[in-house]
């Protein structure tokens, strides 16, 4: 019987007991204060027990309903599991049930690996359900009770899928356990802070880049289904709203075009919406049963269609900012890729829906291609070698002296050359 039903039964039993006492006229308050001590203790214990049962029966707890994680190999729990397991019996053929379980595990594995890579859209509710159900599978399918339904010929394949799933879950666990270290909160960008600067020099752009990467990780599910606590989520959303407003400020300051600003804004809005869908850690045990929503290729069409006018404007604009374009093209190219796969296009039930998807995809692809050709790679002049050092002069001076010592020891240089080079490296004024 499921745990939840047991809890409910106990709670109902407790309520019935209290009602019975009331009906027979027992004055619980008086009984708690008067009478022999043993009677009062028994009554208190009984009420406490009812309270404990009642609390555990309330709420819709995925945590409470979630199966325990598969015990780690080599642990006492794993040994206990193995001890309870009957020996494997080798069947003549793999049962239909076992085939279905293996097939389902492999499908989930494909999604898990995509999630691990941070590729594609991930629904936050799906992350939890996917990981939890895979844990159940790994635990159960490792037992001889299941493996006795798999023939000897199919056994290596089944074990490989189970092991792969266990490995992915372990890696996800490590990924999700990383400490939460959000970038510095941004300030609203004033016109003065943007005037006369290149895009990459402004604090507004640096904040955007840092929060884009951090928020993107969370939105892609790479920090798990409960990536923050309430305070952290509120702060992150507030920071992203400031970044969103700063995009407009940067556009007004002429740091990028309206098309670039528009595309950045759309992506940020999508990220904010996605982050809002994640529940904070405090609500982990309060997660109710929710239907799992699969990402549909139609969403790719809608996203591309929303971005297409801006993308075409961008492709035709005279100036492109590589840093901006690299950011906004990622999601566009991902959607183009999704709509280039037959398995995605097959999901469009009607022919006209499929045609619309292909037309939108092709238009976006053409515009993205024109943009890509303009930004990657850059031509530089043969004789214009960049000579701005990337490290402070003192650090370079020390490093030069150390490097010279190596060449001195190897007798590479003529003594007068070494002497002059060493003097140059030591001189604090030796800068061009």
């Amino acid at each position: 019987m499921p745990q939840r039903a047991v809890n409910l039964v106990l709670a109902l039993a407790g309520v019935a007991a209290v009602a019975l006492l009331y009906v027979i006229g027992a004055d619980l308050a008086r009984a708690a204060q008067r009478g022999p001590r043993w009677k009062r203790c028994l009554l208190s214990a009984g009420l406490a027990l009812l309270a404990a049962v009642g609390i555990s029966a309330t709420g819709c707890s995925a945590g409470g309903n979630a199966p325990a994680a598969a015990p780690e190999a080599g642990t006492a729990a794993a040994a206990a599991d193995a001890a309870k397991d009957a020996p494997r019996v080798s069947p003549a053929a793999t049962t239909e049930y076992a085939r279905t379980r293996i097939r389902e595990l492999e499908k989930r594995l494909a999604h898990l690996e995509k999630m691990e890579a941070g590729a594609d859209e991930v629904n936050p509710l799906w992350i939890d359900a996917l990981a939890t159900s895979t844990q159940v599978d790994v635990r159960f399918m490792n037992k001889n009770e299941f493996l006795s339904q798999v023939s000897d010929a199919d056994l290596p394949h089944a074990r490989a899928a189970i092991d792969r799933a266990a490995a992915v879950l372990k890696r996800l666990e490590a990924m999700w356990a990383r400490p939460y270290q959000a970038p510095e909160s941004p300030r609203p960008a004033s016109p003065e802070s943007l005037a006369g600067k290149r895009l990459e020099e402004t604090d507004a752009w640096k904040n955007l880049t840092a929060l884009w990467a951090f928020g993107g990780e969370i939105a892609a599910g790479r920090r798990g289904p409960f990536p923050f606590n309430t305070r952290q989520q509120e702060q992150l959303l507030a920071d992203l709203q400031i970044v969103r407003k700063n995009v407009a400020a940067m556009e007004n300051a002429g740091l990028f075009s309206a098309a670039e600003a528009g595309l950045l804004g759309l992506n940020l809005d999508a990220m904010i919406t996605r982050i809002q869908q994640f529940r904070p850690e405090e609500l982990r045990m309060a997660t109710c049963y929710q239907p799992v929503r699969m990402v549909s290729p139609n969403e790719s069409v809608e996203r591309l269609a929303a971005r297409l006018p801006l993308l075409e404007k961008l492709a035709a604009s005279k100036t492109l900012h590589r840093e901006v374009v690299e950011k906004v093209l990622v999601s566009i190219e991902t959607d183009i890729l999704t709509l280039s796969k037959e398995e995605s296009l097959k999901e469009f039930a009607k022919a006209e829906e499929r045609q619309k998807a292909e037309k939108t995809r092709d238009a976006a692809k053409a515009a993205a291609k024109r943009i890509r050709e303009r930004i990657v790679p850059q031509r530089t002049c043969y004789y214009l070698v960049p000579v701005e050092p990337a490290k402070p002069a003192k650090e370079q001076s020390r490093a030069r002296q150390e490097a010279l010592e190596k060449f001195a020891a190897a007798d590479t240089l003529r003594p007068d050359v070494l002497r002059q080079a060493a003097a140059n490296a030591r001189s604090p004024e030796n800068k061009t």
């Binding site: 291609k369 050709e373 031509r379 002049c381 004789y383 070698v385 990337a390 002059q420 003097a423």
Partner: protein, 348 residues
């Protein structure tokens, strides 16, 4: 009617065809198998007049003084002074053998923006052998040290060939130790004398990729800028993964195209190309740039590259090398041709 005056960024001026080194990898057009007019240098006044004319017409603000060995010209100091007086920046590409303290004293006060010297190996014997000149290593390292003592901006050039590729990391470290402000890391580009030694000199994409990996690490470690100015075709090298290196491609057709003037005024599309577009002493610079020959040079692209996403940026590598080695602008860059089987064109 044009509202804005046309302008070209920079020019290369080969002040002399003479050289006191004999590098096997030399690309100079007059060393090609195809005949190239031997040029007696113009006198100083004529040279300055020619320079003045082409600078007035082109609007260039940078001239790279090259050769041969430019320091062999006694009037190199006057040429540099003339350019400085006009407010035109000058780079000096020299093998360093004649960069004496006296020469530096005459040129150092703000006449030369960047000095480019070859440092072909940290191994004295390898550098000397590649230069075809005993003592070359000691002279160039002394020149480097003296230039840095005079607070000049110096870039070393490493031409990656099979002869020196194994010494690249130490050479880069030596360049850094001697105070170089940047390193040009160029794969051997066949042409001139080099077209006769392709097999001995041309390294493979695998070897060059290792060099790039090492360059990335060195640039990150020391903060020294490293630039690959000879085209590294993206179908053979995953250039996008190098965060610390810059890559150059053929600039033909852009305002940064390397139009090159030889000692007597013949204009070529670039310093690696043997094609003469005309003479700047007789014709307007822009008439030569807009000529059919210049257009053909800019438009040429090998059939192999058709359909590649980066076709219009990479332009098929170095078409001048194709022209110098195969006599045909439409031919493949010899490096690309040698390793085309390994090429993977970047997809959309």
């Amino acid at each position: 009617m044009t509202l804005l005056p046309r302008r070209h960024d920079s020019l290369v001026f080969e002040v002399t065809q003479r050289c006191n080194h004999a590098c096997a990898h030399c690309y100079n057009a007059w060393k090609n198998a195809r005949p190239y007019p031997a040029a007696e240098e113009l006198g100083t006044a004529e040279t300055l007049a020619m320079l003045g004319k082409v600078l007035d017409e082109s609007g260039a603000h940078l001239v790279s003084l090259s050769g041969g060995e430019p320091m062999l010209r006694k009037d190199i100091f006057e040429i540099a002074e003339y350019l400085a007086a006009r407010g035109v920046a000058a780079n000096l590409i020299t093998n360093g053998s004649l960069v004496t303290e006296d020469a530096i004293a005459r040129l150092a006060p703000e006449k030369i923006s960047v000095w480019e010297l070859p440092l072909l190996s940290a191994d004295r014997a390898v550098h000397d052998r590649m230069s075809g000149a005993p003592g070359a290593f000691d002279r160039v390292t002394m020149a480097l040290a003296n230039l840095k003592a005079a607070r000049q901006r110096v870039v070393t050039v490493f031409v990656a060939t099979r002869a020196n590729i194994a010494t690249w990391p130490e050479t880069a470290e030596l360049a850094f130790a001697l105070g170089a402000d940047g390193i040009m890391l160029n794969r051997f580009n066949p042409g001139g004398e080099g077209s006769r030694h392709i097999e001995q000199l041309q390294a493979s994409p695998e070897e060059l990729s290792r060099v790039l990996d090492q360059a990335e690490a060195i640039s990150e470690k020391y903060g020294i800028p490293i630039s690959c100015s000879i085209a590294m075709p993206p179908c053979l090298f995953r250039t996008a993964r190098y965060k610390h290196l810059t890559f150059g491609f053929c600039a033909a057709g852009t305002e940064r195209a390397y139009y090159t003037i030889d000692p007597v005024g013949n204009l070529r599309p670039c310093n690696h190309s043997p094609t003469i577009l005309g003479n700047v002493r007789e014709m307007n610079f822009w008439d030569l740039v807009d000529s059919r020959a210049a257009h053909d040079f800019t438009a040429a692209r090998p059939e192999f590259c058709a359909g590649c996403r980066l076709e219009t940026t990479c332009l098929g590598g170095c078409k001048a090398a194709a022209e110098a080695c195969c006599g045909d602008l439409q031919a493949m860059d010899p490096f690309l041709a040698a390793f085309a089987g390994q090429a993977v064109k970047p997809a959309m």
